[in-house]
Every structure is written in structure tokens, then in C-alpha cells.
Symmetry: C2
Subunit: 388 residues, 2 copies
């Protein structure tokens, strides 16, 4: 196990009705609130109205609406400007990962004089940040319990990560009933995203962080078990609750700290989203089984056997490569059963930019050196070609 | 899943050599340090000398040595008095769970005018506390990452819990090499303690907190896998590291939040320790399989099947009660294989106080109403009698 620092001070308020604690969560940091949200679904499902009712006249609320599914640099710049103008003391993000990520970038950009895109080039530039409180409405990215964010620069077709300890939400309210209205396709994409975070940490050259891996398998089993239930019965509280808490635990360091390694599928998928603006979780579901097949070899087969046996209950009896392939197939079939379109053409991606995206995936990450299995441009292109 | 608040702001510095960060961990809270430790093993293995060398002349250190394996109220009172006299700004606990628990009680007692034993009767009395930094030397109680403590009142033969959010360590340094010198019997007892924390959370009337249960199974598998390795090769870093991180994660809320219920085996074991001052983990190992057998019934058999299958890899094919009993036997055999004395007479307990201890276990807890399976005095006595 590698040395690590695990420090996740976010206070999680989990369960139905926890929004009642919102005023006390905010008032520690002041009365001037920037309310950040997305396309307006929170007005349809009543969360917006509930927030406004709770904040009443005790808080001054400035709104930043319309955060994009892949939040854009321009929105971050606009939000930071609002924070300066309105002397914002606390940001309240209500939404899924995109909204929370955007709020994090705004929180740091408020205290940074340059272009916030710089944060994606140099994490050391993220310093002081406005305190952040979140209300989660979708189980997916885990942004509600970590300090990471991903923002998109459409001008350059780039979608890159940033982060810092100061960006960890102070309080995150996780009410599973707020995900009842998430459409099936987004529910499936969210579960694929959770699963991918676990996979990316799990398949590492470091095999000595066993407790992290056994925990990852446990969360994977939970996602595999409850996603079909949430799809069949969107208002199943138990399913929504287990998926929501899984989303936070999949990417708060619990399964990744103590292990090194660059994430492979995210590096590849970020190029798909950057060039074609597709849903992140869908892109991950398409790429992951192809990546697995590509990196299965004599050195890695043992880890794929553990995955197959411990997550999908495949028998340990038999030939290793056969067991490994059964595990990969089980994952592919799982994603398919959730209704996810499992090829690139189905999400509007043709073969015209595969090479370019492969080049960018290598350029924007360290997958050529530091991934589970190092990936060259040719490797990435092969994985993308296999996704047709 | 029940509603819950998960808020664990302890900063974990994990790995060999992390003690180098001790000065910066302490100086946030001041220069006046109360150093709390136990029987002197930290002088034998060199940790004491390393601490003193790192603190040098920048800190003023007051020592409280000799904390007992089941820390006593008198020591808490003495420590609190020292804190007042010496104007202590931060407590540094170096040791296992007993030392850390004692330090927590001292941290709260410093600001409390009454007898600190009151904390065990009314948790609301725990308010402000001196900041606590810990250096862990034994993988067992999880005290390094939670706000709980257990203290013993020998005058009344009582061993009871207390706790509060203010008692969470600010920083905990977890260096697996510090556990290399833990003797085999203590290593086994520590692993039994970790396992018991997982078991106590796992067997709950609430079966809807699935992600918690799958995570608990993953940590249990880790403990079962690595304890024999640590026993055979005490300096196996990988084994010691996985056990150490398991100890923290087993009792920081990760596997227990979102589930209700009173712990059964701890309530029973605390009486064994209170009356006979035995090692906590040994007492838990003796009681747990007998408790399991006692509470196995039509309502609970399903959960015991999951335990048997998911933790010990027992086949799901067959009759439920048979699978359940195989799981209980696997746990008993596991403890036995660790060299734990598995009967009460072997740890010096005869049958003269079984009824009294059973009465106290029920009196000191809510196991008669709120346990996984409610336990009367007769039930507890039967479990103790089965431990011969």
C-alpha cells in the first residue's frame, strides 16, 4: 500500500427530509448565497421552491442558472464575477456532478486573478475558495464528497480536471427522493459513472491495497444489484439510497487512496465528451469493456479473475483467461441491460476523429506511462475502433 | 437505509515515515503538549524517542504515562488535572485504543467541572475538548478515526462508553511498521476486535443498507486474509497496512451509519472485562460465535447465509441453517487458528459470576430491546454458559 493522506471533512446529511438543515448549514458561512443550478429540473421537481422557502428572508440569494451538462469555462468566469460583485459568502450548488463541479471552479476562481482554465494546467494554483454546500440530485460523479471538478473549454475542445482540498464541500445534503425523477437514461449513465470510478481505482499496478479493493468490489456489487431496481421502480427508496451513498463512497478516496495510477477510461472518455458533448457515463460504459479486453494479458489476468469472481460471482473453476473474459462480458451485459447504447455510432460518433481523439487522450493525460497498462495513441485508437 | 449524518474530519496520515509530519500536525493547536501513553512499549520500540526528537525544543511536553489496557477513571481525572495545571493546548496520544480512549476522555474532562464518569451516563455532557492528535501502535479499536471512548471504573466494576464529535482526533498518524512489534496474542485480539466491530454493525434488523454491508464484508475478508500473514511474519508491511486501515474503517461510521441497533457482543464482553480485566478482543472472540448460534433463527438465518457465503466463500447451495452454521463454524475456526483461547476458563473466568455479569450487561445497555435479536438476562447467561 502506498503512503497517503485521507482527509474528507465533508459533513454528509443523508436521507429524506435532510434539506431542513440547510439554513444552519449555510449560515456558518454568511448570508450572501450564490445559488448554482442547471437546466431547471429543480423547478419542476420542487427542490428550488423548497430551498427558497427555507432561505426565506434570512439570506440574500444571487442565482446562476443554466450550468451545462459538461460545465463550461465561460460559466465559471461568469460565476466568479458574480461572487465578486455580490460579495458572496457561500455557494449553494443544487444539482448533479456538473453543477457541483462548476460551483467548485467558481469557488476557487473567485480568489484567482487569472483565467480559471489555468487550474486545469496547474493544480497548485487552486488556493482559497468560497465555502460550498451542495444538494445532490443525481447519483453519479461523487463530486459531493471530494475536491475534484471537471470543466470544459469548448473553444479548444478540451475537458480537463482540476481540484484541491479547499474545494471539498463543507456540507452535502443527500436525499435519495431527489433522484426519483432522474430519467432512466441518466440513472443508467450515473450508475455507469459510479462503476467506472471504482474500476479505474481497482485496476492498478498496485495490488497490495487489498482493503480498498475489497471495498470497491462491495460497492460494485451494490451498483449492479440496485440499478435495475431503480430503473424498474424509480421511486424505490432503498435502491436510490444505496446508489446515492455508493456514488459518494466510490470517489472520496476510500477505494483509490494508497494506490497509484492514471485512470485510463476517463482519459479516453473525456475526449469523446470534449469533441461530441456526449453524456460522460454513457461514454464510460462504451469504452470500459473494450479497454478491459485490450489490456487483458498474462500480467493482468489475475486481477480480472478477481473482478469476475468477486463482483459477478463467476466460478473460480476453469481457465484464467476464460474467467476473465466472462467477467468482462458480464459487465458489458450489465450495461446493456440498463439500456445503455453500447456503441459509438449510437451516440452520434463516427470514425472521422478517432485518431485525433486518441492523440489528445494521450496528450492530456499520463496514460502512456502511468496507467494500469500504458496506452499509446495506437492503443487508444484500437479501443475506440473496437467500440463500433 | 436510515437517515444519518456522516462527518469524519480526521486527517489520516498513512504509511511508513508519516511521523515526520507530527510537528506541523501539533503546532496548529499550540506548543503545550500532553503526551499520553501506556506501559512503556513505545520506549522499547523507539517511537517515544522519535517523538521527542521531532518535538525538540519547539514544544513543551508534559507526560502522562502508564495508561492501563482498560483505561481507568482515575487516570482520566489525573490527566484532566494536568491539562488545567499546564495549560495544555493539544493532546498527543501514542498507543493503541486504550491510550487514545483515555486521551479523549481527558480532552473532554479538561472542560468539565464534574466527575468525568458522568460522560458515560449522559453523552450530552461532552462539550468542548482539547484537540487530539494520535499515533497508532496497534490495529484494533478504530479509536483513531472516531469520537468514541470506553473507560473503566474499577470501584464499581463498570466499563462504559462515552463519545462526541469534539473527540474525533484532528490528525491520526498510521504507520504500519509501528505494529511490527505487537505480540501475536495482541495482534490476534486486535483483529478479533476489528472483526467484531464489523459484525456488530452487520447483523442489524435493518437489511436495506446494502452498500454498508457489502463494504463490511470486504473489510472482513481483508482481516481474515491478512491476520494469519501478520501472525506468521510480524514485519509483513502489506499485512500490517491492510489490518491497520481496516481497523480505522471498521468503526468510523462507514459500516454502521444508516443502520440502527444496539451492539450485542460488546455489551456482553464489557462485563467480562469489567469484572475480570481480560483483553477486550479475546473476550469478543469467545462470545461472538456463541452469540451467533444463540440468535440464529427463522428470521435471522438469511443474514447468516449472506455472511457465510460472502465472507467465507461457503457455497450457497444447500439448506439455509446448514450454510449459516458453516459460516459460524468458519468464524470460530478462524479465531482458533489465530491462537485465541476460545473458552472463558482459559482466560481465568469461572462460572461464579455469570448471572451477575448477565444482569449487568442488560442493565448497562439496551440489548433487551434494541439489539439485532433482543437479549434477556437468561439469554446472556446462556451465551456465557455456552462459552465454557
Amino acid at each position: 500500500m502506498n503512503n497517503f493522506n485521507f482527509h474528507v471533512p465533508t459533513s454528509i446529511l443523508f436521507g429524506e427530509g435532510q434539506i431542513s438543515h440547510l439554513p444552519e448549514a449555510l449560515q456558518t458561512y454568511g448570508q450572501n448565497v450564490l445559488l448554482v443550478y442547471g437546466g431547471g429540473s429543480i423547478k419542476k421537481n420542487g427542490i428550488y421552491q423548497k430551498v427558497m422557502e427555507l432561505l426565506g428572508t434570512d439570506f440574500t440569494v444571487t442565482e446562476l442558472a443554466g450550468v451545462e451538462p459538461n460545465p463550461r469555462l465561460e460559466t465559471v468566469i461568469k460565476g466568479a464575477e458574480l461572487c465578486r460583485q455580490e460579495n458572496i459568502g457561500v455557494i449553494l450548488a443544487v444539482g448533479g456532478g456538473s453543477t457541483i463541479d462548476c460551483a467548485k471552479a467558481i469557488a476557487a476562481a473567485r480568489y484567482y486573478d487569472g483565467n480559471p482554465w489555468d487550474f486545469t494546467q496547474n493544480r497548485g494554483l487552486v488556493g482559497e475558495a468560497i465555502p460550498l454546500v451542495t444538494i445532490l440530485t443525481m447519483s453519479a460523479t461523487g463530486s459531493e464528497m471530494n475536491g475534484g471538478a471537471v470543466i470544459t473549454n469548448l473553444a479548444t475542445n478540451e475537458k480537463l480536471g482540476m481540484g484541491g482540498q479547499s474545494l471539498l464541500p463543507k456540507v452535502s445534503i443527500l436525499d435519495p427522493t431527489y433522484t426519483y425523477s432522474v430519467p432512466a437514461v441518466q440513472t443508467a449513465a450515473g450508475s455507469a459513472d459510479i462503476f467506472s470510478h471504482l474500476i479505474e481505482n481497482y485496476f492498478s499496478r498496485n495490488t497490495s491495497a487489498s482493503v480498498q479493493d475489497r471495498i470497491a468490489e462491495g460497492i460494485m456489487k451494490t451498483v449492479v444489484n440496485y440499478t435495475p431496481i431503480a430503473l424498474a421502480t424509480p421511486t424505490d427508496y432503498e435502491a436510490r439510497a444505496n446508489l446515492m451513498w455508493s456514488s459518494s463512497l466510490a470517489l472520496n478516496g476510500l477505494t483509490g487512496k494508497g494506490k497509484e495510477g492514471t485512470w485510463s477510461c476517463h482519459a479516453i472518455e473525456h475526449e469523446l465528451s470534449a469533441f461530441y458533448d456526449i453524456t460522460h457515463g454513457i461514454g464510460l460504459a462504451i469504452v470500459t469493456p473494450r479497454w478491459m479486453t485490450h489490456v487483458l494479458n498474462e500480467q493482468t489476468v489475475g486481477q480480472f479473475v478477481e473482478f469476475a469472481v468477486n463482483v459477478f460471482g463467476i466460478s473460480r473453476e476453469g481457465e484464467s483467461f476464460d474467467i476473465a473474459r466472462q467477467g468482462i462480458k458480464a459487465l458489458y451485459d450489465t450495461f446493456t441491460s440498463w439500456g445503455i447504447p453500447m456503441t459509438l455510432p449510437e451516440v452520434g460518433i463516427d470514425d472521422s476523429k478517432l485518431r485525433l481523439m486518441a492523440e489528445k487522450a494521450v496528450e492530456h493525460s499520463t496514460i502512456a506511462d502511468a496507467a494500469f497498462v500504458p496506452l499509446s495513441v495506437d492503443d487508444v485508437e484500437a479501443i475506440l475502433k473496437a467500440s463500433f
